[in-house]
Symmetry: C2
Subunit: 196 residues, 2 copies
């Protein structure tokens, strides 16, 4: 089995050239784009999601060149996208025994990507916000002429920020829990990339 035909021809199927998309099957294009949309919604690049989706759907590692063709992206773009994804740990770079080129395979937890980067973003971001609000409070206090009433509001604003932060953390935690269930499903029979 192993060999999928995407390398060569498709015998009978009419996967003729789609104008904009490479040689993705229509259903693949739709699924890949759907993931791209989700990922973009979450604040990442659309194409990062598309690349991951392609690799996941194909189930076996692809080369940068293949990705480039399938998704109709530029060489440089693919290089950068793969780097991001690899750094986040959502894809894996592998070199097959007799092969000379790198191939990239999807890690099953796309979620890690969202989690990881959101955690990272959130950390730096919230810290910054808090520092700003603290600074504002300091300035307002030393200024002296600020009505107590307004100072109070400023403090409440900081409180709100903390609560939102807490909610966000909670979300991350619950999603992690919830997602661990999903991962089980994924590993179930999806990847026979039992390496590691």
């Amino acid at each position: 089995m192993k060999g999928y035909l995407w390398t060569g021809g498709h015998g009978s199927t009419s996967t003729e050239a789609a104008p904009s998309e490479g040689r993705l099957a229509p259903w693949e294009a739709i699924a890949v784009d759907a993931v791209g949309n989700v990922i973009e919604f979450w604040g990442f690049k659309r194409n990062q999601g598309r690349v991951w989706a392609l690799l996941y759907l194909r189930g076996e590692p692809l080369t940068a060149g293949e990705i480039e063709r399938e998704l109709d992206l530029s060489k440089g773009g693919v290089s950068m996208l793969l780097r991001d994804l690899e750094r986040w740990g959502v894809i894996q770079r592998v070199r097959l025994p007799q092969d000379t080129v790198w191939r990239y395979g999807a890690e099953t937890d796309l979620v890690r990507m969202v989690r990881h980067v959101i955690e990272e973003r959130e950390a730096g971001f919230v810290a910054r916000i808090r520092a700003d609000l603290a600074e504002a409070r300091r300035l307002a206090e030393t200024a002296g002429s600020v009505p107590a009433e307004r100072l109070e509001r400023l403090e409440k604003m900081a409180t709100l920020a903390e609560h939102v932060e807490r909610a966000l953390r909670l979300f991350i935690k619950t999603s992690r829990l919830d997602v661990s269930g999903v991962l089980a499903v994924f590993r179930d029979g999806a990847g026979r990339r039992g390496e590691k």
Copy 2:
């Protein structure tokens, strides 16, 4: 060196509207921008957050003109921003008895803004994603030549989408709960006095 000019005297409720005077106190600028950053981070316009923050910090309704001057925005921009905020229910348009002009006051639950719009966005968005994935599955099945293994992966992808959706809903719910506590804090003494 005190006296941030525009305040004139906090005693006078009419705000005295320092004519063509519009510089934010430094501490206000910082706080306002901090909120702007948060709001932008959540996918809204930075200036929507800034406007809300200004109105909240001031505690009393301001006119569009004042907002325009304080935040150094354009007339048209303020108009649109206020419209958005009002539609989302996070600010309130009021007309004082003897006054001829509209004024805008902050509603205490900025959170409603996030919640409301996220709910809305999420609803339409997730629906779309689901539809796309369903379509992809349909196409893949009718195509016939798709390995069962890949179909499986496609289905798992849909499952993932559902789980993420669930996590998101959960987040909204918990944040609502968590936030109700914050609201209590806010209402405590923040209220705009006796309008209405």
